[in-house]
C-alpha cells in the first residue's frame, strides 16, 4: 500500500513532509496518523489506510510534489512470519562505533543521528552530550534541500575548524610565535565560515520558512505592492451589545450549546453595511470591477502555524448562533489539522479581530482580491460624552483598510460609520436579520 501526497487543492502542487509520527519499520494500525504535511495553504495529517509495517521512502523536512510516493505500508497479512528481534546483536559492528552512554544512544535514536555522524571529543573518542548537541546544531543549519541528497557532509569535522575555537581562545594569552599578520591570513577560513563560531552557538538559530509562512509573506507583500491600501478609523460603543449578551447568555447557551460572542454581531453589521456599499464587497479583475451579490465573510483566526482566514458562506442568511458555531468549528479544525482548502477559498470581505490579543488600534492588511477588511480591537472602558456628561462606556476602535482604487473615501467612511451604528444599536440588526 503506497503512501502518496494527496491532492489538497487546485493551486497546490507541492508539499513539505513536515514530520513522520512513526519510525521506519514501525508497525502501524489502520487510521494511525503517519505524518504531517504542510502546503502553502494548510497543514494536514496523513493516516494509515491499512494496518501493517511502515516503510519510509522520503525523509522528513523534504519538499515533494503532489502525488509523490513517500513510503508504503507492508500489510501484515502478506507476511505472517514476523521478523525476529535480535537479542544477540552484532558485537563486531558495535565495536567499530565510538563509545557513548545509554542516555546518549537513546537521544541519537530519537533524533535519527548515527554514531559515526558525531565526532566524539571525550576520553578516548567518547561521544559526549555536547558533541551530540553540536552535531544537531550543525545539522539544523544545513539547507533542507541539500540534506537528503548529501547525507554525510561534515563541514565542522575537518581538523582545521574543529581546533579553531580552542586555539583561538588561547591566542591572547600565549604570545604567538608567528607574526600576527600571517595568523590572520591563515585563520579567516577557519573562523569566518558561514557557520557561526562554536562559542557563539545558541545566540541565533536559523530554520527554513515553512510553506505556509512563505505563502503568508508573499501575499502580504503583494497586497502592499499591488493595491492602493489605506485605513480609516472609527469607534463603537458596545454598551447595548454587552447588555444584550448579558441578558441572553443563559438562554442562548441552553438553546444553542455555545456562548454568544461579539463576532456574530460584527459579521451581521458588516453584511448589512456591505449591502448599502456594494463596492466594499467588490473586487478588481483586470480592467473590470466585479460586484458580488453574495456575502462570504472571511474570519481571520490565528493558528500555531500562522494566520488562516476560513470563510463563512452566505453570511447574510446565517443566524447569530450559526455564525458562532461555524467559527467554533473552524477553530477546532485548525487545532486538529483538518482545515480543508475549500474552507479558505473565495471570500468577499474579511474581519480580523486583534482585540483577542489585546490590540488597541491597528491597520489590518487586505486579503486580495478582496477590497476591504475590518479590524476589531480590544474593548476598554473609556470616558465618552453622552448628553453633555462624561461617562465611562465600553469602547472599541474600529479600522477599515480598503483599496482606494475601487473604494472612495466617502464610501469607506460611510461603511464604517454604518457598522458602528449597527453595533451601537443592535436591535436594528436583529429586526433586519
Amino acid at each position: 500500500m503506497e503512501i502518496k501526497i494527496p491532492e489538497v487543492g487546485e493551486s497546490v502542487r507541492e508539499a513539505l513532509l513536515a514530520k513522520w509520527f512513526k519510525s521506519n519499520g514501525a508497525a502501524v494500525a489502520k487510521d494511525d496518523p503517519l505524518c504531517e504535511i504542510e502546503t502553502d495553504k494548510i497543514t494536514l495529517d496523513l493516516n494509515a489506510d491499512v494496518a501493517g509495517v511502515l516503510s519510509i521512502a522520503v525523509a522528513e523536512g523534504t519538499t515533494v510534489a503532489v502525488g509523490t510516493v513517500i513510503g508504503s505500508i507492508v500489510e501484515a497479512a502478506a507476511s505472517p512470519q514476523a521478523p525476529a528481534i535480535d537479542t544477540s546483536s552484532q558485537l563486531v559492528e558495535k565495536l567499530a562505533e565510538p563509545a557513548s552512554s545509554p542516555a546518549l544512544r537513546r537521544e541519537m535514536l530519537e533524533r535519527d543521528i548515527s554514531p559515526d555522524e558525531v565526532t566524539g571529543t571525550g576520553k578516548g573518542g567518547r561521544i559526549t552530550l555536547d558533541d551530540l548537541f553540536a552535531r544537531i546544531e550543525e545539522r539544523s543549519k544545513q539547507p533542507p534541500a541539500s540534506r537528503p541528497v548529501t547525507p554525510p557532509v561534515k563541514p565542522a569535522v575537518t581538523p582545521a575548524i574543529q581546533e579553531a575555537p580552542a586555539s583561538a581562545m588561547l591566542q591572547p594569552a600565549v604570545a604567538a610565535p608567528a607574526p600576527p599578520t600571517v595568523v590572520q591570513e591563515a585563520r579567516p577560513t577557519a573562523v569566518r565560515t558561514e557557520d557561526a563560531p562554536l562559542y557563539a552557538a545558541g545566540r541565533e538559530e536559523r530554520r527554513p520558512m515553512s510553506p505556509i509562512r512563505k505563502r503568508i509573506a508573499e501575499r502580504l507583500v503583494a497586497a502592499r505592492q499591488q493595491t492602493a491600501m489605506l485605513t480609516t478609523f472609527n469607534e463603537a460603543d458596545l454598551t447595548r451589545v454587552k447588555e444584550l449578551r448579558g441578558s441572553q447568555r443563559e438562554h442562548f447557551m441552553q438553546r444553542h450549546g455555545i456562548a454568544l460572542g461579539f463576532m456574530p454581531f460584527f459579521v451581521k453589521a458588516c453584511v448589512e453595511a456591505l449591502k448599502e456599499f456594494p463596492n466594499v464587497n467588490a473586487s478588481i479583475d483586470g480592467d473590470d470591477i466585479v460586484l458580488h451579490n453574495f456575502y462570504d465573510i472571511g474570519i481571520a483566526i490565528g493558528g500555531e502555524k500562522g494566520l488562516v482566514v476560513p470563510v463563512l458562506r452566505n453570511a447574510d442568511r446565517m443566524k447569530l448562533y450559526e455564525i458562532e458555531q461555524a467559527i467554533a468549528a473552524f477553530s477546532e479544525k485548525i487545532k486538529t489539522n483538518r482545515l480543508a482548502i475549500a474552507d479558505l477559498q473565495g471570500g468577499t470581505f474579511s474581519i480580523s479581530n486583534g482585540g483577542v490579543y489585546g490590540s488597541m488600534l491597528s491597520t489590518p492588511i487586505l486579503n486580495p482580491p478582496q477590497s476591504a477588511v475590518l479590524g476589531m480591537h480590544a474593548i476598554q472602558d473609556r470616558p465618552v460624552v453622552r448628553d453633555g456628561q462624561i461617562v465611562a462606556r465600553p469602547m472599541m476602535y474600529l479600522a477599515l483598510s480598503y483599496d482606494h482604487r475601487l473604494i472612495d473615501g466617502r464610501e469607506a467612511v460611510g461603511f464604517l460609520k454604518k457598522v458602528k451604528e449597527y453595533i451601537e444599536e443592535p436591535e436594528e440588526l436583529l429586526l433586519e436579520g
Binding site: 505472517p80 514476523a82 521478523p83 578516548g124
Partner: protein
C-alpha cells in the same frame, strides 16, 4: 461492569507485565491488567526469584551459624532449624512485595482483572477483544466471582506477558508430591532425606544449595558434561568445585530414564553412559528448563506465529505477526530473566508511545545465587574465541583481597575480558561473595563503552570487594598491584 475499553491490555502481571503496565500509565495510556493469580508479581515474586532468595538468605545464615561462627570466635550450641518459621518468613516477604505491586497499581489507576485471558479477535471498531474468564471455583472466592463470569475488555493494543512454566522430563510428569517443580521445592513442609535435582542450571543449583545447607543430601543430575553451560567455563568449573565441597553430589553426563514411586519415596533410574543404575530418593526436583506459556490464549484462531522453539515471533517493536498484539519476556527469544522481561516491557510500551527506546541485550547481567555467587555480563571467553574477536583477559582472586579475607570469603575471582586493540570491556565474570551486586559495575562500564583502562583509573574504596574488579582490570595489562 466498569469501563471495558482501554488503550492497552496487559496479560500477565509478572515482572514484564506489571512494569510495562506502570510505564504505560506514566505515558498516559489507560491500562488494564489480566492476571490469573490472586497475587501480582508472577512467577518471579510468587514462586521464583523472591521466595528462593528469601530461602537462600535464611539457609545461608543457618549454615554460617552452624559451620562458621566458631571460626569467628562465636560459640553457639548447634543451631536448631524451625523450617515452619523459615517458610513463614519467606511467605511474609513475598506478601509484602506482591502487596507493594497492588499498591502501585492503585496509585497508577491500573485496572486489574483476575482470571484467564483469551484473545477474541477484533470488534467492529477494530479494537482487540480480550475475554477474561473468572478463576475456577475455589471455596469462598467463588461467591465474589460468581456474578461476573466472563467479561470482555477491548483495546487497540494487547501486550502478552504470560511468561513461562517449568518444563518436565519426557515421560516423567510432575505429580506435585515426589516429582516436583521449583514451586513445590520452595515450600517443602519437612526436610527431605535425599533430594535429586534434575538439571544443573541456575534454578537447580540455587534450590539444591538451599536444601543442602539445611542438611539434606542433594544429588544434581545433569545431561551435559558440565553445569551452567552458558556461563564462562572458569566460573562454572570453580562453582562446581565449591558446591561439591559443600557436599552436593553431581552426576554429569547423566540422563534420567524413569522414576518409580514407592509410597512417599521414589527410585530414580538413570544412565551415565556406562549403564543403567538406580538410586533412592524422596523428592525429585525437575529444573531442566522452562517453556513459554502460549497455550490457551487463542493464538491459533488469531494467527499469532511462533518460532521454531515455541516462542512468539516479534519484530523490533515486540509486535507479533498480528498487528496490535505484542509479546515480551519469557514468551519471546532471549534469556528467561525477570529483569530482561521488565526491560522489554518498558521499551515495548515506550515504542508504542512513539519513543525510540531499545533494549541493549549486550549488557543484561545474569546471576546464579549460589554461595559463592556467580554473575556475568557480556561475552564469555568461549564466545569470544568462537567469534574470532581478539581479546585480553585479566583476573584477580578474592583470596588476595583484604575485605574478602575479613569476611572469610576467599573463594572465587573476578575476570575481565577486554578487546585486544580497543581495550573495550567485552565481558565481566565474577564468582565470589556478593558477585550479584558487584556485576553492576561491569554492566555500567560496558554500557558506557568503557575500557579496562577506564576501570583501572577509577578509584575504588578500600577495603571493599569492588577492589577485585579494579585489580582484574589492571591485570588485563598485567599491572595488578596485589597479584
Amino acid at each position: 461492569m466498569s469501563e471495558t475499553i482501554f488503550d492497552l491490555i496487559v496479560i500477565g502481571a509478572g515482572p514484564g507485565g506489571y512494569v510495562a503496565a506502570i510505564r504505560a500509565t506514566q505515558l498516559g495510556m489507560k491500562v488494564a491488567v489480566v492476571e490469573k493469580r490472586a497475587a501480582l508479581g508472577g512467577v518471579c515474586l510468587n514462586e521464583g526469584c523472591i521466595p528462593s532468595k528469601a530461602l537462600l538468605d535464611s539457609s545461608e545464615l543457618f549454615a554460617l551459624a552452624r559451620d562458621k561462627f566458631a571460626l569467628h570466635g562465636i560459640n553457639v550450641s548447634p543451631p536448631q532449624l524451625d523450617l515452619g518459621a523459615m517458610m513463614l518468613r519467606k511467605d511474609d516477604v513475598v506478601k509484602k512485595l506482591t502487596d507493594g505491586i497492588a499498591y502501585l497499581f492503585k496509585k497508577n489507576a491500573i485496572q486489574r482483572f483476575q482470571g484467564s485471558a483469551l484473545l477474541r479477535g477484533k470488534d467492529t471498531e477494530g479494537r482487540h477483544r480480550v475475554e477474561v474468564a473468572a478463576p475456577a471455583a475455589e471455596g469462598q472466592q467463588n461467591l465474589l466471582d460468581a456474578p461476573a463470569d466472563t467479561v470482555t475488555l477491548t483495546a487497540a493494543r494487547v501486550l502478552l506477558a504470560t511468561g513461562s512454566e517449568a518444563a518436565g522430563l519426557p515421560g516423567i510428569p510432575f505429580d506435585g508430591q515426589v516429582v516436583v517443580s521449583a514451586r513445590e521445592a520452595l515450600s517443602f513442609e519437612r526436610l527431605p532425606e535425599h533430594l535429586i535435582v534434575a538439571g544443573g542450571g541456575y534454578i537447580g543449583l540455587e534450590l539444591g544449595s538451599v536444601w543442602r545447607r539445611l542438611g539434606v543430601k542433594v544429588t544434581v543430575m545433569e545431561m551435559l558434561p558440565q553445569i551452567l553451560p552458558n556461563m564462562d567455563r572458569q566460573v562454572a568449573d570453580t562453582l562446581y568445585r565449591s558446591l561439591r565441597k559443600q557436599g552436593i553430589q553431581f552426576k554429569l553426563g547423566t540422563r534420567i530414564s524413569g522414576v518409580r514411586r514407592i509410597g512417599s519415596k521414589a527410585i530414580v533410574e538413570f544412565n551415565d553412559g556406562t549403564g543403567s543404575e538406580e538410586i533412592d530418593c524422596d523428592k525429585v526436583l525437575v529444573a531442566v528448563g522452562r517453556r513459554p506459556l502460549t497455550a490457551g490464549l487463542g493464538f491459533e484462531e488469531l494467527g499469532v506465529v511462533l518460532d521454531g522453539q515455541g516462542r512468539v515471533a516479534v519484530d523490533a517493536d515486540y509486535q507479533t505477526s498480528v498487528p496490535g498484539i505484542y509479546a515480551i519476556g519469557d514468551l519471546v527469544p532471549g534469556p528467561m530473566l525477570a529483569h530482561k522481561a521488565s526491560e522489554e516491557g518498558v521499551v515495548c510500551v515506550e515504542r508504542m508511545a512513539g519513543q525510540h527506546a531499545e533494549v541493549e541485550y549486550d549488557y543484561i547481567p545474569g546471576i546464579c545465587y549460589t554461595w559463592p555467587e556467580a554473575a556475568s555480563v557480556g561475552r564469555t571467553e568461549e564466545q569470544l574465541k568462537d567469534a574470532g574477536i581478539p581479546y585480553r583477559s585479566g583476573r584477580f582472586n578474592f583470596a588476595a583481597l583484604g575485605r574478602a579475607r575479613c569476611m572469610d570469603e576467599s573463594e572465587g575471582f573476578v575476570k575481565i575480558l577486554a578487546h585486544q586493540e580497543s581495550d573495550r570491556v567485552l565481558g565481566v565474570h565474577i564468582i565470589g561473595p556478593r558477585a550479584s551486586d558487584l556485576i553492576a559495575e561491569g554492566a555500567t562500564v560496558m554500557s558506557f563503552g568503557g575500557t579496562a583502562r577506564d576501570i583501572a583509573l577509577m578509584c575504588h574504596a578500600h577495603p571493599t570487594l569492588s577492589e577485585a574488579i579494579r585489580e582484574a582490570a589492571l591485570d588485563v595489562h598485567k599491572e595488578a598491584i596485589h597479584a
